[in-house]
Amino acid sequence: MTSESLVNELPNPRRERLARLGRRALWRLLGGVLVLWAVATLTFFALRLMPGDPVLAILGGPSGNPTAETIAEATREYGLDKPLAVQYALYLGRLVQGDLGVSYSQHLPVTRVLAEQSWPTLELTLTSLVLAWILVLALTVLTAGGRRWVSSLASLAETLSAALPHFWLGILLLAVFAFGLRLFPPAGSDGWRTLVLPSVALAIPLAGFIAQVTRESLELTLDQPFVLTARTRGLSDTAVRFKHALRHAVLPGISLSGWAIGALISGAVVIEVIFSRKGLGRQLYQAVQAQDLPLTIGISLVVAAGYVLANILVDLLYLWVDPRQQEHAA
């Protein structure tokens, strides 16, 4: 055997690693598609089981007083006279082609409504997530394992903020900063000034949750031998914390962030209602109440897709931050 062929047969560790990450991402994506199908199906049947005639919902509710002819016409037009199974199959067929149908209540293509409303919600949740992580890092890295009273004070702050319901926080912020001090607008969704209060209301409870786990793991990490080694090499306390301990300590926080995406979206519904912001959350709230089936499924799908994607990212981020995990993950 020549040395050349030996080199060829030796596994390239870096490529191996990337391939493994790629396989995992692909596998997760496949699972994600299945999840989306289930979400669409569940939502479809839930809304069809809802009391109330869907035709009335299309024609603007029972107060619209439609005639028998318009009802019959709309029933035919929307295919509501066919059996439920056929309606479901037709719906699914169009869904695969990317056609989400027309909103019953707004009479606009669902894809257009989604395109308009997705950005404000994405903006809100991402700002909240970033803000939460800044708070977490500031609180934990600077205080964990430090002086006792500082540490317990920070810990108390975290417990307290984790217990704050975002809707209450949102109303209080509204009362103090919008109506009291008039620093920020109480409603609307244009410009960064409208973003401040809603994202703070979402970020503070989230930061409390993430900070609790991060502090615990940071305190465990700071007791590890490698931290002592770093210290004996003369590294400053700040450098030890940021360069060595943090990488280990953020892991539970990262996996919690995956869960947090779901919680943030649920929170966004309430926050968007409170602050009268444009966005998927408020739209969903209205769509469910108006029995707007296509719009409800559309929003549920976008939200679920966002959640699935975010969790794949979190998964890969986790493996990237801690390559040791790959051995078990593959």
Binding site: A38, L42, I274
Partner: protein, 287 residues
């Protein structure tokens, strides 16, 4: 250095133990929870006026001696309403957590014991439930079954179930190969008996803490749903409903929303602190 010395007790020298952490906190938390339970059973003890009594000329009374937490737009005493609301909020929190846990136990047992295929199926189901933000699930649920306490409890319970189920499954997997299970099998105990007498009690022990904290979280969740108008109907004294009603007057009467919310926060805080203390006690981390 001093820690090294303290760890090795020398004869005749009393070892200084580290002082108990959270000594004051848990006491406060448990007394508040106790207060809530008494208020839920006997609200008349604390509240002296009818939570539904309308006194028009007393509307929007700010907090003071006559009305500790002020009055709302119809002159109803907010302190009495918060106290009377305790029963409903606690009941919703407990019932939703119990429901979530029951679903979780069934799913966790199926996943943990049912073999590879069933486990994968349960895994998918959980993945789907996770991808469905709980609020969407709750909105749909309430849309189908109407608003009210019952649907509110089920919606909150369903939202919490996947998280618990994942924990139960992990616990079942960790416990099922333990020595005592093996010996119970060897002794010829029927499977159901092993599950109820050996497996579940041991698998559930770490979950007690999660459950304690879960009640607080469930109360927050249920309040969020009530706040969106999916729970108890408006004049009812329920914390989330009160918040939702007070929201319209937030610009000039902050006490309408502040006090019901404060009770939600204090309840969650108490369950968290009590749960964490329990955890430290159970894990023996507390000297």
């Amino acid at each position: 250095m001093s820690e090294l010395l303290l760890d090795t007790p020398l004869p005749g020298i009393r070892v200084q133990r580290t002082p108990r952490k959270w000594r004051f906190g848990p006491l406060l938390a448990v007394s508040f929870l106790g207060f809530l339970i008494i208020a839920a059973v006997l609200p008349q003890l604390f509240a002296h006026s009818d939570p539904l009594a309308i006194v028009p000329h007393d509307a929007f009374h700010p907090p003071g001696w006559a009305h500790w937490f002020g009055t709302d737009q119809s002159g109803r005493d907010i302190f009495s309403r918060v106290i009377y609301g305790t029963r409903q909020s606690l009941f919703i929190g407990l019932a939703a957590t119990a429901l979530a846990m029951s679903i979780a136990i069934v799913l966790g047992l199926l996943g943990g014991l049912g073999g590879a295929y069933l486990d994968r199926g349960v895994g998918w189901l959980l993945e789907i439930l996770f991808a469905f933000p709980s609020l969407i699930l709750a909105l749909l649920f309430v849309a189908v079954f109407g608003s009210g306490i019952g649907p509110l409890i089920v919606a909150t319970g369903l939202g919490g179930a996947p998280g618990y189920a994942r924990m139960v499954r992990g616990q079942v997997l960790a416990v099922r190969n333990a020595g005592y299970i093996e010996s119970a099998k060897a002794l010829g105990h029927p499977p159901l008996r092993i599950i109820t007498r050996q497996l579940l009690p041991n698998a559930m022990r770490p979950l007690i803490v999660t459950l304690t904290m879960g009640v607080g979280q469930a109360i927050v969740w249920a309040s969020a749903l009530s706040f969106l108008g999916l729970g108890a109907r408006p004049p009812a004294p329920e914390w989330g409903t009160m918040l939702s009603m007070g929201r319209d007057f937030i610009a000039n009467a902050w006490w309408l929303t502040f006090f019901p919310g404060l009770f939600i926060v204090l309840t969650t805080l108490s369950t968290t602190v009590a749960g964490r203390y329990l955890q430290q006690r159970l894990e023996g981390r507390l000297a």
